[in-house]
């Protein structure tokens, strides 16, 4: 379990990192916390010829509130975000979801943006970003792009990041007045990859669920059901749309059932909390 040979660039500046990506394109891969990538390298599932270590780019380690957005820099770790004192009041969904990201040891190294780039179908951070209607900021030598979460993660382990681009920040929508959130995860053990993870959000405008672990990427669905029967039908339709796969931990059917059941519970919780 040793990686294939690669060149390592420990970037001292964003420009240096982007220049390297520009030069090597698809053969290069950015490494930050390495909590997913290192395992893939060691198992030789991935073998980039160049690794660009961005952990020294301390300028990109920040948590900032800008207007409606909470912006998290590329090298901010999951633990740092979780420890942000205002998290519970200003980004309650993240406060609920982050403790489910791996284990505290992995959160100490794993970055928020790295998790988005890795795009695991079961990851909590992409789910939170998608549910909150967040954005991803990408930079390359040619310039900057901002992509909405749903446009960024295109499928399992795949994103719309171009080979010469680096994700420099993620933007989560800050707490609006009266918005309510719920989060629930079903996994075999704490810290395991989610079998199903569900986020619920109720704002003045919308009531929605975001689901991870079932389809190939986080999926958001809004609900405007008028009756209990409508809601049940809508949840059932949503469960079937997500489809799900059998794996050794749970059947597709189990996953769909959890979407129905926990989705229902969460929608009720956020609706009732919002009403009170």
């Amino acid at each position: 379990m040793k990686p294939a040979p690669f060149d390592l660039l420990i970037a001292d500046s964003l420009e240096e990192a982007l220049a390297c990506l520009h030069e090597h394109g698809e053969d290069a891969r950015i490494i930050a916390g390495g909590q997913s990538l290192m395992a893939m390298l060691n198992m030789r599932l991935a073998h980039p010829s160049v690794l660009v270590d961005v952990t020294r780019l301390r300028d990109l380690s920040y948590i900032r509130c800008k207007g409606d957005w909470l912006e998290v820099g590329a090298t901010t770790t999951q633990a740092e975000l979780l420890a942000w004192p205002e998290l519970a009041t200003r980004a309650p969904l993240l406060a609920q979801a982050l403790p489910y990201v791996g284990h505290f040891q992995t959160r100490n190294r794993g970055t928020v943006c790295g998790s988005l780039c890795h795009a695991d179908p079961s990851s909590e951070i992409p789910l939170a970003l998608a549910t909150l209607g967040g954005e991803v900021v990408l930079k390359s030598r040619k310039g900057k792009r901002v992509l909405a979460a749903q446009d960024f993660q295109t499928g399992m382990l795949t994103t719309a990041r171009r080979p010469d681009e680096m994700v420099v920040a993620a933007r989560f929508r800050l707490q609006e007045d009266l918005a309510r959130f719920g989060f629930r995860e079903v996994a075999r053990r704490h810290g395991d990859f989610a079998i199903v993870s569900i986020a619920a959000m109720k704002t003045a405008k919308t009531l929605c669920l975001g689901v991870g672990g079932v389809a190939e990427r986080p999926t958001i669905q809004t609900f405007d059901a008028q009756s209990a029967e409508d809601l049940e039908a809508a949840l059932n339709a949503f469960a079937w749309q997500l489809g799900g796969s059998d794996d050794i931990h749970a059947s597709a059917r189990y996953r769909r059932e959890m979407v129905r059941r926990l989705g229902h519970t969460l929608l009720q919780e956020v609706s009732n909390a919002a009403a009170s």
Binding site: P3, A39, M40, L45, F193, E216, D246, I248, H249, A252
Partner: protein
């Protein structure tokens, strides 16, 4: 042997607590091992220095579960700089004799695959290179051509007439069959008031140690011998197997163990074939070779406890007393049988009747091979499988008779006045008071609280159940038990096999300090602590003053076939021998001191490092002075006394007799008793199974160190708890292995462990071990899985409980038919995988070109090459056959594969079928599909369906993403087809629907 134990008497040695009066035995003395371990100063095998020039080994493993090896080409690999040798199965066959197996079947096993592979992950070749990185790089250079064969995974299917046969020389996957009959089972069944029969399935699992196998092997050309340092834990009877295989006398295979090992749990026993392989590698490479097993290798290929199917038939009375038991086992050992397998089933045979009174047994054992990882010795060694049958039986009888399961246990349990008791299959239960132990556990463990809780929880409409289990816990194997795998006639011919020798040495040097050497090769249990307690009691010194060495050097230490760390041997055996050696040292010291103190030796007292006259505090001499005399002045020693102060005890209990003609054998020496109960709550929403509280009561005779006992109980409980709820090695029907990382093989961690109440029952000291102690290392691996299963059965009111009890499995039991699919017509939806782990799917795209043009693209090698994502080269290999080299993957997961594709049943330009295979370092796949072309508005609707199977590394570690990955790759192909045909693509109905539902891709 008679059919009851009444004629048996076991001699109990006189109680002896040493001369000090004060006893360290029985106290929770702190572990002397901790200081080094907690300060990071443990010396594990990988920490030991190696000689300059030592090569590192990496192993090439089969992606196929069952295949013939047509050819292996290592030339490119050997040409790579830094590579010194490549060893294949052919090399092994040339250089060694096939490894011996305790069965009569003509099995040949060489450590590396010869001619064929029989499980996914089987070692095919070893590369020895200057470092591990280079060695792993070089693995990709070995070209192996496999011809895949149909695999068989299910032990019942494997023994069917037309099943594919793994080992042609044996001609059947039923490697051996054994029948045992004890008492009068036919008569008991004929006259039975009631009968019951059912099947149980015990899954595949293991107890993976933190540290995997590590081995440093050096061929010594000066004497044609081998020097091996490894974390092999014994039994050292396997040393003979290795030496025999390497064709050297035992004294030319020196084996040494490191001071520390990171767990074993029996698992490391079956590293011995790897040791033989590395010895041959060193011989061929001309340098020492080191191999460190990694986690993926360990989970894929180290070993597993055998899974088992048992058909249980019981005869019982209307009162719930079982009178006879008929068991037929199909014990699944995976692809190869390696010594001492199939040992577990024979080891536990003696205790088939568990702690119950029944006297009539009929047992059939089918020893089966399938295309899975070979079996190994896993802590519990046959116990979990056996007691899963007996204890499910008791629970089911209680349900049928509408009795409290605990009442059924009590009606069947052996009474206190039967000991020593010869169980019908031969085990001699040395001591016990099972009823008292149950009473104590019920009271101390607060069973009534759990029952109240069950009522409360059930009143809320939730699921709650209580389970019970009892188990006889045998310790210290009789080396003769495996002989019952052979016929009585063969046993007679090969001479008696019995006993279990243990060696311990206690010495006092010229400065009076005490050394203990024992053959126990621990893996973290605290043997040094316990032995220092035993010796301290004898010699009246503080335990921390005693230095204990328990690693083994076969060239310098006293050892025998039974030496090592397994079968809960330590407390019963090593404790006894060490006690004996310490007694001898004390006797010798006392005899010398007798002259100095002018008192008879037997009167002297040893305390505070002094030897004393008990009646005169002033008449005493320091122990070190007497010891020094033995070294400095042999001439002054009493007449006839050996000089020095070095006493070695070799001990083998006489109760470990050979088997009789019926195959009845006292398979182990001392038999402890366990009684467990637990409460289980099942979440009605997520179906998660939570163990509310677990109570385990043990009678293991004299307790040597209560803290270490709790460590053993807690550890084996964690393993049993994992087996009940989390741990399983999962295989697909195609033999692909899906549990290759700790994200998929789920070990219960501290966070999952429920509250565990350990009840120390009033001990029934063993009359057959010198300290009255019995082993306690395995018990909960036996009883915990079935205790939890019984609680789940009680909670859900079900008969069949399949382990591990996952929420998804509970959901399958409880959920009614699923709500109907809405939102998409059946044919348009991307159907997720169906049965087994075959990945299936279907979809359609609209290609903006007429069907004829699309057809041409599909059949033209050049345009096909342009359409296949990552295609590096594509050549025609016959009519409508293509061979391509492709770089493909999902996201950052990429690999190079050789693809062979054939199109057939062509109906131009409407329909084609295709089938093919892929192989590469990441794994292999095979699949089939159908493509339909249909003219439609805007071009051609291309509909496709596929069914693929994926095996190898990607399946082992990426199982949860395989469906999505297959879908994604196939979509990539068809998207490329669309753009090749001049896209932009118009999507099929399903894609449009997905978009409308906010799922756009």
């Amino acid at each position: 042997m008679s059919d009851s134990g009444k004629d048996l008497t076991l001699e109990r040695p006189p109680p002896d607590k040493g001369a000090a009066g004060k006893s360290y035995i029985g106290q929770s003395v702190l572990r002397v091992e901790n200081r080094a371990l907690l300060n990071g100063r443990g010396q594990f095998c990988d920490d030991l220095p190696v000689k300059r020039g030592t090569l590192q080994a990496a192993i090439l493993r089969s992606p196929h579960a069952h295949a013939e090896i047509e050819s292996i080409d290592v030339s490119a690999c050997l040409a790579r700089p830094g590579v010194h040798a490549v060893i294949t199965g052919e090399d092994m066959r040339r250089h060694i004799a096939a490894m011996k197996v305790p069965l009569e079947a003509p099995l040949e096993y060489y450590g590396l695959a010869v001619d064929k592979v029989v499980f996914a992950g089987e070692a095919v070749a070893v590369v020895c290179a200057e470092d591990r990185y280079l060695a792993e790089d070089a693995l990709d250079d070995i070209e192996v051509v496999y011809r895949p064969l149909e695999p068989v995974l299910d032990p019942l299917k494997a023994v069917e007439e037309d099943a594919p046969v793994l080992h042609p020389a044996v001609k059947s996957n039923l490697i051996s069959k054994h029948h045992f009959r004890h008492g009068e089972p036919e008569a008991a069944f004929d006259s039975a008031e009631r009968r019951m029969s059912f099947d149980i399935v015990y899954p595949r699992n293991s107890i993976p140690p933190i540290e995997g196998f590590v081995c440093i092997a050096e061929f010594l050309p000066e004497n044609d011998g081998y020097d091996v340092i490894s974390n092999f834990p014994g039994p050292f009877g396997m040393h003979s197997v290795m030496a025999w295989s390497l064709r050297v006398p035992g004294n030319k295979l020196r084996m040494r163990s490191p001071p520390n090992a990171g767990g074993n749990f029996g698992v490391k026993l079956t590293m011995f074939p790897s040791i033989v392989v590395m010895c041959v590698a060193s011989k061929l490479a001309g340098r020492p070779v080191k191999w460190v097993e990694d986690r993926l290798e360990h989970l894929v290929a180290a070993n597993s406890a055998p899974n088992r199917v048992t058909r249980v038939e019981a005869a019982y009375t209307a009162a719930g007393e079982v009178t006879a038991l008929r068991l037929e086992h199909w014990d699944d050992h995976g692809g190869h049988i390696r010594a001492p397998m199939p040992g577990p089933i024979f080891r536990m045979h003696g205790t088939t009747s568990n702690a119950y009174k029944l006297r009539h047994l009929d047992v059939t054992m089918n020893i089966v091979v399938t295309n899975k990882c070979p079996s190994g010795a896993v802590r519990g060694f046959g116990g979990p499988q056996l007691y899963y049958a007996t204890e499910r039986l008791m629970q089911r009888i209680a349900v049928v008779l509408d009795l409290d399961p605990l009442e059924v246990l009590r009606r069947n349990i052996l009474p206190a006045d039967v000991f020593p008791y010869r169980a019908p299959a031969g085990a001699v239960y040395d001591s016990g008071n099972y009823g008292r132990c149950i009473d104590e556990a019920v009271a101390e463990g607060r069973l009534e609280d759990l029952k109240r809780r069950r009522e409360e929880v059930r009143a809320q409409g939730k699921y709650y159940g209580i389970g019970y289990a009892v188990g006889i816990e045998p310790s210290q194997s009789n080396m003769g038990y495996i002989a019952i795998a052979k016929s009585a006639e063969k046993r007679k011919k090969s001479g008696p096999k019995d006993g279990a020798i243990v060696y311990a040495t206690v010495s006092v040097d010229a400065s009076g300090s005490i050394n203990v050497v024992a053959d126990s090769v621990p893996q973290g249990q605290g043997h040094a602590t316990t032995l220092s307690q035993i010796v301290a009691d004898q010699l009246g010194v503080a335990p921390e003053a005693i230095m204990v060495n328990t690693d083994l050097d076969t060239q310098k230490d006293a050892w025998s076939i039974a030496s090592g760390n397994y079968s809960s041997r330590f407390a019963a055996a090593v404790g006894s021998a060490t006690h004996l050696a310490a007694q001898r040292v004390r006797a010798k010291l006392a005899r010398i001191a007798s002259g100095t103190l002018n008192r008879p030796a037997e009167d002297l007292v040893f305390s505070d490092s002094m030897i004393r006259d008990p009646d005169n505090p002033d008449n005493a001499v320091p122990l070190y002075r007497i010891a020094a005399l033995a070294h400095w002045s042999p001439g002054s020693l009493p007449e006839g006394m050996e000089p020095g102060m070095h006493e070695r005890a070799a001990w083998s209990a006489k109760e470990l007799e050979p088997s009789n003609e019926l195959g009845e054998i006292n398979c182990e020496l001392a038999y402890g008793f366990i009684f467990d109960f637990c409460g289980v709550e099942i979440d009605p929403v997520t179906f998660d199974v939570k163990v509310d509280r677990y109570v385990t009561a043990h009678d293991c005779g004299t307790v040597l160190n209560p803290a270490l006992l709790e460590g053993q109980v807690g550890g084996s409980f964690a393993a049993g708890f994992g087996a009940a709820l989390y741990e399983e090695f999962v295989y697909g029907e195609d033999g692909a292995f899906y549990s290759g990382s700790f994200a998929d093989y789920l070990i219960a961690t501290a966070a999952e462990m429920p509250p565990l109440d350990i009840v120390h029952c009033t001990p029934s000291p063993s009359p057959v071990t010198l300290l009255g102690a019995k082993g306690v290392g395995e018990g909960n691996t036996y009883t915990t899985p079935v205790c939890i299963a019984n609680a789940v059965a009680d909670a859900l009111g079900i008969d069949d409980v399949v382990l591990p009890v996952t929420p998804s499995r509970v959901a399958d039991l409880l959920l009614a038919e699923e709500q109907a699919r809405v939102g998409a017509p059946e044919s348009e939806a991307p159907e997720a995988s169906g049965s087994g782990r075959s990945l299936t799917g279907e979809d359609s795209v609209i290609v903006p070109a007429p069907p004829e043009e699309v057809w041409r693209s599909l059949l033209d090698p050049d345009s096909l090459a342009a359409v296949i994502p990552g295609c590096r080269s594509l050549e025609t290999a016959g009519e409508n056959r293509y061979r391509a080299s492709v770089d493909m993957g999902v996201g950052p997961v990429r690999g190079r594969f050789q693809a062979d594709v054939r199109l057939f049943d062509l109906e131009e330009p409407r329909k084609a079928k295709l089938e093919g295979s892929l192989s590469g370092p990441l794994g292999s796949g095979s699949g089939s599909g159908e493509v339909h072309l249909e003219a439609c508005e805007g071009g051609t609707r291309v509909s496709y369906s596929y069914r693929v199977k994926v095996a190898g590394k990607v399946a082992a570690v990426g199982g949860r993403m395989l469906d999505g990955a297959a879908r994604s790759l196939i979509q990539q192909f068809f998207r490329a087809l669309v753009s090749q045909a001049g896209g932009p693509a118009r999507r099929g109905l399903w894609s449009r629907l997905r978009e409308r539902l906010g799922l756009s891709s």
